[in-house]
């Protein structure tokens, strides 16, 4: 990926050039996204899910069902605790139906589960991005032994069978705050994928004319990194982070699905799907609702990331 756009402006005015280019670039990408039906639909859906997550207590207050409130009236004990009514107990009272056996409201659990999933995915994204950018920049900027050390650590972490290892660590750790543990484990194994790209781009950027010009005109190391190199990494960082969020939502759900993620009674989408496994034949709605939410959320974020990449690539090509 080349970063051709800001370079001619930077040549004319090395310090200010890179600063104002991304502003118009951002507006251009936003305009391209607004014209794209897939991107707009994805944004609307994500907005709704985020709104639902934020308003989870409000939803519970309106429906009168908390995420952990049992509703014995909604399930039929004669049928082994299957929800009463069709489609997994969907009714005006329980919009998405109830869980078999204990009758917990699925809408409330989806809303509270969204909070957990998003919180973990976004924290992990912020942390991996921070670590990835800092270490990738260090390796690419200073090169030499700094690069050697950081690159070897990245090789080591990327050679690890991350999923098996994450599960093994999570299952052997004492039950502390699972969310914090999940974020930590995802971050430790996640940052090299971002750092590798940042390092590669920094390596090509430090030798570009506008960086040389800045250096020749006496700019400090900090100024070069923050005003010349970082603005040029912006597009790929935006793309990588939008694509990282759905990845981490999937990882969290997968780990919770395997029983090492968020512990009950805290709801999470993956954990809901996991507990639905033994019911899938008799109560398919129980896994269909969280499964659909998980699928659509990951899809929306992926579509959005993909369209942002297409828009920023188109800008570079022109």
């Amino acid at each position: 990926m080349t970063t051709a756009a800001p370079s001619h402006e930077a040549m004319a005015d090395p310090l200010a050039g890179a600063g104002h280019a991304p502003a118009t670039e951002g507006r251009r990408i936003a305009r391209a996204l607004l014209r794209d039906r897939g991107a707009v639909l994805s944004t609307v859906f994500l907005g709704l899910v985020v709104l639902m997550a934020i308003c989870a207590p409000l939803i519970s207050a309106i429906t009168g069902h908390g995420p952990n409130d049992f509703d014995p009236a909604a399930v039929d004990t004669n049928l082994g605790g299957l929800p009463r009514g069709s489609l997994g107990g969907v009714s005006a009272d329980h919009l998405f139906g109830v869980e078999p056996q204990n009758g917990r409201d699925i809408l409330a659990r989806i809303a509270y589960g969204a909070r957990v999933s998003f919180l973990i995915a976004i924290s992990a994204t912020v942390l991996t991005t921070l670590l990835g950018v800092v270490l990738g920049l260090l390796a690419g900027f200073y090169q030499g032994w700094v690069d050697q050390v950081i690159s070897r650590i990245m090789d080591f972490l990327m050679a690890f069978p991350a999923l098996i290892f994450m599960i093994a660590i999570l299952s052997s750790l004492p039950t502390g705050d699972r969310s914090v543990l999940l974020v930590t484990v995802i971050t430790v194994f996640g940052w090299p994928y971002l750092a590798r790209v940042v390092r590669g781009q920094t390596l090509t950027l430090v030798n570009r004319e506008f960086v040389e010009a800045a250096r020749a005109s006496g700019a400090s190391t900090g100024a070069i990194v923050f005003k010349e190199i970082l603005p040029n990494l912006r597009n790929s960082l935006i793309v990588m982070t939008t694509l990282a969020v759905p990845g981490y939502i999937g990882t969290e759900a997968g780990l919770s699905f395997l029983g090492v993620g968020v512990t009950p009674p805290t709801p999470s989408w993956g954990q809901m799907i996991s507990s639905a496994v033994s019911w899938y034949a008799t109560d398919p709605m129980y896994f269909a609702v969280p499964g659909l939410f998980l699928f659509l959320t990951v899809l929306s974020l992926t579509v959005l990331g993909d369209r942002i990449r297409a828009a920023s690539d188109a800008g570079e090509a022109s």
Partner: protein, 329 residues
């Protein structure tokens, strides 16, 4: 070339050693005491000490690690006197749960994981590359937009959601397929095929979507290169330029990624095997983690790391053969 290979192999051994030490350290330091778990509820301190001694857990950490490593290379002896048990060369210890040799457990389960991985790989390579090629050739067409839209969707379905959906539709509702069971091919070829079909489909979906997008992007990139213009301008037919000039540079990067993906799958498709109840390496990993069966967890982690790293080396060597631009001196 020989020096390059030797260097890569040495690097592989060093990395494996590091993974080994790191994994051992984590389980040694963090895991709950396996002796307490084996001992159960009616347990005396003496009995715990006895179990710890018989498992070798009373020794200092470095001695344990040393024993484990030498067991891998030359084998080791367990117990003493008349109860002496010899564990031959690639010795990975004995399961705390079933007392079986871990090496034997892996040998028994590897065929299942390999069957899952090979079948899925065949499916996703054929579907992914064919769809990607067609999309690249007909860029911007109705086919291209549909296929790439589907590819985004398919790559977004978590595989356990897909697995449960397929199982519900195909097994419970339509009753086209039986519940998967890992029957050997020689026993009942039809049941074998029916059993593995869903795991193959589930694993192949995500990869096929990725490979389709990747193939499309690579082929479009290659078609825009100067040497392609030269090939066309000297009068070669479009089909021939595609076959002779475009495919090789477009598909070599796919070889790299395929090697890594396939190697990772050999180490066990954890979620897919667990959902379908197939007794492969992945399910063994999940079970051993649930029961805190440390020797098995260690072995599975090492095996998976070995496959990933070996895959990495094989891919790099293949690459030098496929792409003359990166020949090593």
């Amino acid at each position: 070339m020989a020096r390059y290979v030797a260097g890569r192999l040495a690097g592989l051994v060093v990395l494996l050693l590091l993974v080994c030490v790191f994994t051992y350290l984590i389980f040694f330091k963090l895991s709950p005491d396996p002796a307490l778990m084996i001992c159960g509820k009616t347990c005396t301190p003496d009995r715990v000490a006895q179990i710890r001694a018989s498992l070798g857990l009373d020794k200092p950490f470095l001695t344990q690690l040393g024993d484990y490593l030498s067991g891998l290379v030359v084998g080791r002896d367990y117990g003493s006197g008349p109860n002496l048990v010899r564990c031959p060369a690639p010795c990975l210890g004995y399961s705390f749960q079933s007392s079986q040799s871990v090496t034997q457990m892996i040998v028994d389960r590897l065929p299942v994981s390999a069957t899952v991985a090979v079948g899925a790989a065949v499916l996703w390579l054929i579907i992914g590359i064919a769809a990607g090629l067609l999309s690249a050739v007909k860029e911007g067409s109705w086919w291209d937009r549909t296929a790439m839209g589907l590819a985004l969707g398919g790559a977004s379905i978590p595989n356990y959601v897909l697995a449960l959906t397929l199982q519900y539709v195909l097994v419970v509702k339509l009753q086209i397929l039986p519940f998967p069971s890992a029957v050997p091919f020689s026993e009942d070829p039809l049941l074998w095929f029916q059993s593995y079909l869903m795991p193959w489909l589930v694993l192949a979906t995500g990869y096929a979507c990725l490979y389709a997008r990747l193939t499309r992007a690579n082929v479009i990139d290659t078609l825009a290169q100067n040497f392609m213009r030269t090939a066309r301008s000297k009068g070669l037919s479009p089909a021939l330029t595609m076959r002779r000039h475009a495919l090789r540079p477009a598909l070599t990067p796919i070889v790299t990624i395929f090697g890594m993906d396939f190697a990772a799958l050999l180490g066990g498709a954890l979620i897919t095997e667990t959902v379908f109840g197939l007794n492969g390496i992945g399910k063994m990993a999940a079970d051993s983690i649930a029961k805190n069966d440390q020797p098995v967890i260690m072995a599975v982690t090492l095996l998976a790391a070995f496959f990933v790293m070996a895959g990495n080396v094989v891919v790099d060597l293949l690459y030098t053969g496929l792409d003359p631009r990166v020949r090593v001196s």
